[in-house]
Every structure is written in C-alpha cells, then in structure tokens.
Amino acid sequence: MKPATDPKQDFLVIERVTKEFEASDKDGKSIRVIDGVSLSLKAGEFAVFLGPSGCGKTTLMRMAGGLDHPTSGEVRLAGEVVTGPDRRKGMVFQAYSSFPWLTVLGNIRFGLKYRHDVDAAEKDRIARHYLKMVGLEDFADFFTNRISGGMRQRVAIARTLAAGPDILLMDEPFGALDAQTREFLQVQLLEIARAEGKTVIFVTHDVEEAVFLADRIFMFSARPATIIEEIDVTRTLGARRVLETKQQQDFFRLRNHVLDLMRVQARKTEEIFRPEAVGE
C-alpha cells in the first residue's frame, strides 16, 4: 500500500518511470533511455537535472511536462497524473524560444492568449508586470530578432510565467549564451523563481550552473538514466545565492564533488558508444 502523500511535500512525483525507444536497427531491440527513476519535488523547490549529454534527463523533464510519455511508471503533478501538456506546465526551450513576428511585449502577451480566466485589460497588466520583471521595458516594442539571445531567453521566461504555470520546466535555457549573459540570467532567474515561489526543473550539463542554481541536484547516470546521487545544495550553501556565492569554499567543494561524478558518467557515455564505433 502507498502511504497517503502530502501535496505540499510531494508536489511533483516521478514514480518508477521507464522510457524505451523503438530501435531502428535490424534486431529491433528497443533502447532503454530511462530506467525506473523515482523522485519527488516540494512545491517551490528548484531542482536541477544534471547528467552527461544524451543521458535522458531532458526526456524525463519533458515527461513531467506531458510532452513525452513514460513506457511505464507515472508522473503526478499536485496529485494528478500527467497525461499531456497544458498551461500548468510551462516550458522554456534552448532555441526557437520566441516568435519573430511578435514584439517583445507581444510575445509575453502571447503567454496569456489562451487564458480565459482574465480579461484583456488584465492580460495587458500581467504582461507588463512580467516585462518589467525580466527588465525589458525599454525593448517592449522591439521584434525579437532585433534583440540579443539573452534577452530572447528573458522574453521566453516572461512569456512562460505570464501563462501562470504551476511548474517551470527549463531545457538548457542558457546553453547557447555567452558566459557573462549566462551568469546574469542565472541570478535573475533565481530572483524571479523565489519571488514567484515557483517549482522549477532545470536541465543542464553545466556543473557550475547546476550547483549555483539548485536547491537539489539530481545527478543522472549515463544512458539508461538512473539517479546516482541526490545533492542537497541548499543544506550546504543556503537558499540565498548571489554572484559571490561562486567564490565560497563550500561552492568549490561541492562543484568539485559533482564534477567528479560527472566525469565518471561522461566516461561511461564514451564506453556506450565505443563498441558501435568499433563494430562498424
């Protein structure tokens, strides 16, 4: 018997989730990308999925968003089984994040387009609120291909927040940005997530980014993905993070620990691919 769960404690529950993809080779064996992963997030928690490229962490996050479906197991958001995407599960992608035919404000307002619970005036107010929150008031009327990549990601974040999701799912949103912009956006994202009290799943393979942002890091193994370690970052670094946090001894120690874990997994990833390379 399953014990009754407290929705505050277990806001997002991933339970024994496995994902297999049909293989295209001739023996037709399916490839297991995620192997029985279970985890649960508290409301308002900032979780980072960290792991080597191609390990399945993005797939797992997409399943939380209802954009992919588990082969077995289930994902529950606030006690309800996730069956498909909707407005409660907001997504920020790495690329193609904004619509070029809309202005910055138009893009943010697009996040509210399918909300029938608020009227037009309220939509304008909410859109302007998030425009201000991401600091793009001066660029409100710019088309998004006239602004930088960093600004475009801020537009995407603002649009996603404007839709009023319960959880924010971010798939390497800063992956294509330069180091300075990235750092700036990390700080800004943390401030926004705190202010909004949003639950976040943030996927990255950048260790420093993971340690800086996360309340908890879920360290994934090479394919098929399993959680090899759960790192409670907030216990070590506290909930408040500023740029100077990156200079602390504790930060270094934690980062080095996670880097070690990452190296081992990255090596395993290499090994997974090697036999195929030799065989061909």
Partner: protein, 270 residues
C-alpha cells in the same frame, strides 16, 4: 566624412564583391539598366537586319503593334480576361491548398490519403489534360480555370505542407504548454511562422499559372492574351506576337514586384 569616403568600398566594388552589400536603389538601377541594355541589343539586332524584319521586328515596331492592339482591337479586355483566369485559378488553388497542406502536415491520415494522389497528378503534364477538360467541361471559362488549377494546386499543396512541416517543433510545443488547442496552434503559430515562406511560394505559383494560361488559351479560346498571340501567328504578325509576349512579361514583372513589396511590408520583422 573623408574617412568614410575613403574606407567604404566603392559602389562598383560592392556590386561585384562576393555577396556584396548594395542599397535597394542601386539594385533598382542595375535592374533597369539590364532591361534597357537588352532592349538596345534587340534594337541593334533589328537595325542590322540579323534576321528578316518580318521575323524580328525592333522594339519600336513591337511597341507600336502593342499600341495598335490596345487602341484598335480592345487588347485591354483580352488582358483583363487572362488576368481574371489566372487569378481565379490561383485563388482557387490557394484557398484549398493552404488548409489541406496544413492538415497534411498535422495529421498522418490526411497525408497518407492525399500524398499519393497528389504526387500522381503532379507529374501529369498539363497539356495532356487539355482533351479531357474539353470533353468534360467544354471550352468555356470553367475548362480553362480548371486546367490552370490542376497545374498549380497539386504543386502548391505540397509546398504548403512542407512549409508547415518546417515550423520548429519547439514552437508547436510552446503552444501546447500555453494551453492552445490544435486548431489554435495551426492558426496562431504554424500559419504565422510559415507565412513569409508561404507568400513566396504563392508568388512562384502565380507565375506557373501564366505558363498554363497560354497552354489553355492556345488550345481552345476566343479571347485572352494567348489567343491574340496565336491568331497573330497565323498571319505571321511577328510584331503582335512579340507584343503579346511582352505584355505577359510586364504583367508578371509588375505582379512579382507588388507581391515582393507586400512581403516587405507584412514581414518587417525579417
């Protein structure tokens, strides 16, 4: 000022540089010059009698013939009927191809059912269908418009479906996560993202319509630019034949430029 003048490569250099940058005005003048150059070459060929004058009238004579056609033979109404046929067929193609193409890109069943049929018809040469359209639909307007429609619709629908398929998956998923329904995603995201490409494809398709128009008008018609060209040929009025061809070219050029202008205005963000 002098520094600017010294360091900016000259206009001529910009024009011949690999992927060089020029202003739109420069491009316009280059285009005009190319036209004028061609006309001069033509005039020269006629003056030098490179071919007998009844086979190669000069530009002056052709323009004269065009003027005569317009004034004496009500050529304007022939132009009108041809433009009407082209646009009727083109609009009928677009109105059906856009929704069907969108559906083909969105639903496997629609694609599965229509693609083989479309591919089959797409390869049929339009002139080969003339006898059939005449038997079925006679030689009236319906027959000609249908012919033009067949020539363009089956190409256009595939172009539209491809444009729709090229819309990034992420854009569609953004729609899902914002709570949009499939129809809303098609209307507000897919159609909007593909719009610039689609307008380009429509512009190209409109050009094809003119190609098939002449086929239709040459075979069976008693009006239209193609009919005028064919009747002029019968009496070896080469100047009138060329006047007709010139007219089609000019209409094509004008339409193309207008659509390009609209493209720039509608899609300022590009």
């Amino acid at each position: 000022m002098t520094r600017n003048g010294q360091h900016r490569p000259s206009l001529w250099r910009q024009l011949i540089a690999f992927r060089g940058q020029t202003s739109r005005n420069t491009d316009l003048w280059v285009g005009v010059a190319s036209f004028v150059g061609l006309a001069l070459l033509w005039e020269l060929a006629a003056l030098m009698r490179w071919a007998p004058p009844q086979f190669l009238p000069g530009p002056g004579q052709v323009i004269g013939a065009l003027w005569e056609l317009l004034v004496k033979y009500d050529f304007l109404s022939d132009i009108g009927i041809s433009v009407f046929r082209v646009w009727a067929a083109f609009l009928a193609s677009a109105i059906i191809a856009i929704p069907l193409g969108l559906m083909m890109s969105s639903f496997r069943i629609v694609n599965g059912v229509s693609e083989p049929v479309v591919d089959f018809i797409r390869y049929l040469p339009v002139p080969a269908l003339v006898p059939l359209t005449v038997i079925w639909l006679g030689i009236g307007e319906t027959s000609k418009i249908t012919l033009l429609w067949i020539g363009t619709f089956f190409q256009l629908v595939l172009l539209i479906a491809d444009d729709a398929r090229r819309v990034p998956k992420e854009s569609i998923e953004i729609g899902h996560t914002l709570g949009a329904r499939p129809f809303e995603i098609l209307r507000d995201i897919v159609l909007r993202s593909m719009m610039p490409n689609m307008v380009d494809n429509l512009r190209i398709t409109l050009g094809w319509c003119w190609t098939y128009l002449i086929v239709a008008e040459i075979v069976a018609a008693d009006s239209g630019v193609g009919y005028v060209i064919m009747s002029a040929r019968r009496y070896v009025k080469t100047d009138e034949v060329m006047a007709g061809i010139l007219t089609i070219g000019l209409i094509g050029l004008l339409t193309d430029q207008l659509i390009r202008l609209a493209h720039r205005r509608w899609f300022r963000y590009l």
